[in-house]
């Protein structure tokens, strides 16, 4: 390893905007999102790949952004919780988490939303067990999950009827 710190140019599109930066190879995607482009809606919970609070959507897949280097996302398209709202209107999933009390402290919520969004894109009419399976990598210390399942079902219905 040379003494000089390597910097790698990356181009990463986040919520429709392309960001060009030069990053250290060891920079995690979550740090890129939170510290390079200042989108702090994506949370770091465990930082050990378990809790899913850092979940974002990379090229259509939910991924744990604490378990990915920013350089690995070079050229990729990312959606974070900040990209859900459109023209001041909450996304139906966000709205449903609110009305169904799918959150308490809200720490896990950005990750829950991003995982659920991928599910609803694939399965517009999910069964509860599909939702549980989809959210099996997202931990919540507050809600006991039931209201989260209800929220995703409500959002699924709203999206189908929209």
């Amino acid at each position: 390893m040379s003494e000089q710190i390597q910097r790698i140019p990356v181009e990463i599109t986040v919520n429709g905007t392309c960001y060009k930066r030069e990053v250290e190879p060891r920079m995690l995607l979550v740090e890129f999102i939170r510290e390079e482009i200042n989108l702090t809606g994506t949370h770091i919970g465990c930082d050990t790949s378990y809790c899913g609070a850092c979940t974002v959507i990379l090229d259509g897949n939910a991924v744990k952004s604490c378990t990915l280097f920013a350089v690995q996302a070079d050229g990729g398209e990312i959606l974070t919780v900040e990209g859900l709202e459109k023209e001041g209107e909450l996304h139906p999933l966000q709205q449903a988490f609110s009305t169904e009390h799918g959150l308490q402290c809200g720490y896990c919520t950005p990750g829950m939303l991003m995982s659920s969004l991928v599910l609803l894109a694939e399965k517009p009419e999910p069964e509860d067990k599909d939702i549980r399976k989809c959210l099996s990598g997202n931990l919540c210390r507050c809600t006991g999950y039931q209201n989260i399942i209800n929220a995703v079902q409500t959002a699924a219905k709203d999206l189908r009827e929209a």
């Binding site: 790949s49 899913g52 897949n61 378990t67 280097f69 350089v71 990598g137």
Partner: protein, 298 residues
């Protein structure tokens, strides 16, 4: 948590990747999905000088079944394998792929990374023992194929040399009168299995067991197999008494470590129980019943 600094390389071809790895020497490591490696680097349990990102190498993202000869490219993710047509032909693949961790990990983690890590808790090495898979490796000296039984030497140790990459996994689709099941017992989705059992068996002429492969996972430094247990079953009608004897024989050969997931005795008890469940499911599938399978949660 930041890993120690390293240099990052993104070669454009397999040849270039192997060349780079051999030039950089043993302090360099390949990076595939990163789902085993990045957590290790963040904990600074390893501090490689260089990472060679192989995740975009062309030609290693494929799955095919040519007349029963299956080939899976090393960069195929757990998620893609779990959703592929291969699962219809070889249901035990779906049991394994769809039971690994959670959707986020399955979207990134690769079968090549799983076998190369030789992590005793990883599911693919155990599963591939039940299919007598062959691992295709590319290195400086060219290509070689290594049966999975020889490929995994010990915990976290394979036959790969520093500049050698796994490029492909090969195995044959088991015959129509064969059935398999893989069951892992896990505390939650994003946790490695406490114990796992894979069974692939072929039944003929009035339920006589023609061929059988048994493997235990997370039950010792490497996947546990037992000729004795397999010989007990081969050529016999599978009664639950006989299956219990086989379970006893293979569990006897295991050495599950006591850790946060349970004591050795607890794990042996789990292995016996999983063995019987996996055997039932494998027998039903051999008889042609379609059953969805997956890991069991507490």
């Amino acid at each position: 948590m930041y890993p120690a600094p390293f240099c990052y390389h993104r070669p454009g071809s397999l040849k270039e990747a192997v060349g780079l790895l051999s030039e950089l020497g043993e302090a360099a490591k390949p990076l595939a999905g990163g789902q085993s490696l990045i957590p290790i680097l963040k904990l600074r349990m390893d501090e490689p000088s260089d990472l060679v990102d192989i995740s975009r190498l062309p030609g290693l993202h494929f799955m095919q079944n040519d007349d029963g000869n299956v080939r899976i490219g090393a960069l195929s993710t757990h998620a893609l394998i779990g959703r592929s047509d291969l699962v219809g032909a070889v249901p035990i693949l779906g049991d394994c792929a769809n039971g690994i961790a959670d959707p986020q990990v399955r979207a990134r983690g690769t079968i090549g990374g799983s076998v190369s890590s030789a992590d005793p808790s990883c599911d693919w090495p155990t599963l591939l023992h039940t299919l007598d898979a062959v691992i295709v490796c590319h290195g400086k000296a060219g290509v070689r194929t290594v049966p999975i039984r020889e490929f995994i030497r010990d915990s976290y140790t394979t036959v790969l040399d520093d500049a050698e990459l796994v490029t492909e996994i090969r195995f044959k689709v088991p015959p129509a009168n064969s059935g398999g099941a893989y069951i892992g017992f896990k505390k939650s989705a994003p946790a490695y299995p406490t114990a796992a059992v894979g069974i692939q068996l072929t039944l003929a002429d009035g339920d006589v067991c023609q061929q059988v492969r048994l493997a235990l996972g997370a039950a010792g430094p490497r996947p546990v197999t037992s000729d004795e247990a397999e010989n007990l079953l081969r050529g016999k009608v599978l009664t639950s008494e006989l299956l219990k004897q086989a379970a006893e024989a293979i569990v006897e050969a295991s050495d599950p470590p006591a850790d946060a997931r349970g004591s050795s005795d607890f794990k042996r008890a789990v292995l016996r129980s999983l063995f019987m469940q996996a055997a039932d499911r494998a027998i039903e599938r051999a008889a042609g019943t379609q059953i969805m399978g997956n890991h069991e949660y507490v």
